[in-house]
Each structure stands twice: as C-alpha cells, then as structure tokens.
Symmetry: C2
Subunit: 250 residues, 2 copies
Amino acid sequence: LETATTRRTAALLLIGNELLTGKVQDQNFSFLARELYALGVDLVRVVVIVDEVETIAQEVSVLSQGHDFVFTSGGVGPTHDDVTYEGVARAFGTRVSRNKRLEEILRSRYGEGTNEGHLRMADTPEGVELVFAADLRWPALLMRNVYILPGIPEFFRMKFEALRPLFRGVPFVLAQIFLRCDETNIAEPLREIAAGFPDVQIGSYPRVDEADHRVKLTIESRDAERVTRALEALLGVLPAGEIVKIERPE
Amino acid sequence: LETATTRRTAALLLIGNELLTGKVQDQNFSFLARELYALGVDLVRVVVIVDEVETIAQEVSVLSQGHDFVFTSGGVGPTHDDVTYEGVARAFGTRVSRNKRLEEILRSRYGEGTNEGHLRMADTPEGVELVFAADLRWPALLMRNVYILPGIPEFFRMKFEALRPLFRGVPFVLAQIFLRCDETNIAEPLREIAAGFPDVQIGSYPRVDEADHRVKLTIESRDAERVTRALEALLGVLPAGEIVKIERPE
C-alpha cells in the first residue's frame, strides 16, 4: 500500500489568455508531466486559467492545500497582463511589494539602464522564498509549496531543471503489452485482472496510427513484484496470438 | 459592454492518466482553443484529471454549473479504465445503463461479431441526448450542457467539426503590434493605455525565437471600433522606431 512517504502529489497551474485563445500552444504541461513521472512524483491535476488576479488567487489557494507541490507557469513578466505574483500573494493573504534582493540583482544586471519595467519584476509576494538552485542567475520563487515559474518554455525548463533535485519521489515500475486485436476483444479479461490488482494501475490505450498494433496496455506500480505478477496474470488470459510485443520492467 | 447574449463561455475537461504521466501529449486543448476562439466562444478554463469516477463527477458538476458549454475528452472506450460515462452520470445524479439506440447502432455495425466489449460502449448515462450531427455514424453524446467526446485526437476533431454549428458566438476582432524592443521598455506606457481601455483585452507577449521582433502586442474586443481606438492610442505612446509591423483588423 502506498503511504504518505512514498506518494507525493503535484499540480500545475497554467496562466494565460494566449493559451485559452489558441494563440500559443502550451509546451510546459507535457514537459513537466514526463519529468515528474520519471522522478516518481504524481502529477494529478492541471488547470489552465485566464490572467485574472482573483481567479489565480482562488486556484492557487485550492491547489496549494491539496497537493505536496504546485507549479505555476506564466504571468511573471513586467507588463500589465502579468498578474501571477498579485494572485499568489492574495492566495496567501499577503501583498506584493518590491523585494530588495531581487532589486539588487536587477540593478547589478542592468546598471544605469535599469528602468521601472525591469524593477517591476522585483514586485513579488511578501514572504516569498528565493531559491538559488544550481547555476540560476535569477532565483526560482517559492511561496509555501508553490513554485512560481515563467511561461516561456525555454525558461520554464531551465528553472525546473535547476530545481529538480528537490522533487525526488519513488518512481513507478512499468511493463507494457502491445496487441494487434481491438480493445473490445480484450475488455472483459482485462476487467477481471484489473479488479484482482486494485493496487496496480492497468491502462488500455487504443492506437490508430501504429502499423503493428492496435492496443497498448500499461501495467504500473511502485512495487516491481506487483507489476510482474499483474503482467503474468494478464498474459494468462489475453489471446496469445494477438500479442505483438511484451516490455518487462528493467 | 458584454452581455449574456454576446458572451458564451466554455470549459474543457481532459480525462486520462496517460496525459498526466506524460505518456501521451494532449492535442485536443489547442485544437479546441483555436476553434472556439474563431467561433467567438470564450474558453475560460481547462482541467486535466485522472481516470477516477468521483474526481470526474465533481469536476463535471462544477464546470457544468459555471459555463455555457463543457467538453470532456477521453475515457469513453470499452475497457475498465474508461469511466467518463460513470463520472458524468454521477455528476447529474443519475446512473449508467445500456442505451437501446446505441446498442442498435453497434449491433447493426458489428453483426454477429458483436461482443460485450462493443456493447459496453452503449452503457451511457441515463437521460443522455444523442446528437446525430452532420454525417456522424456514431452520435455525439450530450448530458445537459456537457458534450462527451473521445480522447483520440482524430475522433475528437471529427466529432467537434460535426457539432461546430451549435457553438456560434460573436468572434473577437484582433489587432497586433510587433516591436523589436524589450517588454520592459514599453511596460509603463502599455499600462496606462490598458487602464484607459478596460473593455479591450491588451496582451503583451515576449518572443525569444523570432528574428525581427521581441514583443507581440494583441488588442482584442468584440467591438471593432474599440480595437481601432485602442490601437491608435497605443501607437500614440509606443516608441515608433521600435515598431516592426502593425496588423489592423480586417
């Protein structure tokens, strides 16, 4: 059984009108999903919302209470439509003010060319923690369990990669079975085995664009032995002639 | 001012462990975002959740109450991990049972080869409405204001395209300004104009991968005249030498 020490959950909040109007295609969700899966942290919820202070505040508050880690993406630039810091501050009952340490970093970077637009990026929630992970020139911002990351994919990745050591969980063990028959032909035996292994996640995915198979089954647990047992149980009931390939845990 | 008749809102619920573990990259969000924007319907919220009946039920209930249209994506196949119908039924206080009309369609398609796996796809929420839009062989399923769509991108698109005439709103008018300077250099004048046009959405997007510009400004409203006025106001305060290109409303 999974305990609080083996299971850590995460949520991602994508903030930006440009995503919801289809002007920009998000890349941070799939990146973070793959990263957290590899680390063994369960990403259980992603929410995409508009750039509105009150909406951000409500969502951050709910997500922060329900998950070990929360990541926000977007809305941290210097312009009027960047209101993530304001929303996060309101979520935690605090306000935005100019952070002295961040102001120093900005002034040392831009020198005499420092303008109000630059300094706006130092206007952050009071009580925010600055995480100078790895070789980040600009720290990651952490408010309680909420990591406030930039929306531009290159910067989101760079920040997450610097922070990565903070999020180690217990990774899943994965086995896979590929079949050439249709999902409908295996739904019933699959249902029986899944019911017998409630602690193992068994997924069935139809594939329309693969030449050699039409279904991929995934068998996952943090306990390698349970994966092996569920795999063997499945192989005992699935039509052997339809199996194209089996990928056992490493 | 926008009224209830000009503004129609939508939410999208993506259902699937495979998205949250990064095994599959979602394509339906960006597709639907572009489509709804073109139609003039405001997509204001997207949520991604795991394949769990109770989680689906709660989310569908909340989204259905808060939006004109809700779209779900995924979890409608024949296997044990397809629990969207169960979740939607629970959201509306009803249950899943075998729909006679859908059973007929399945039996006429698969004939004597019809199996329990096929028929499972007729196990749908009681009271569901079947929408035989355009040339769909299999109807779209509608529960109150919730359109239940398949997760496979090809099928999601096909279904949405058949339904498209149902979702006509009043489209936005868009103008754009591209600048070669940094966002920080225009943040202050931009803030002033945005404050003077609270009914116009003015977005500022830094670009890191474009050769000729570093900022794209978007100016949007359902009222073309307001867009033109906000555009002219912006052109009056932005540094003319930094403007690379202006796209006026058509």
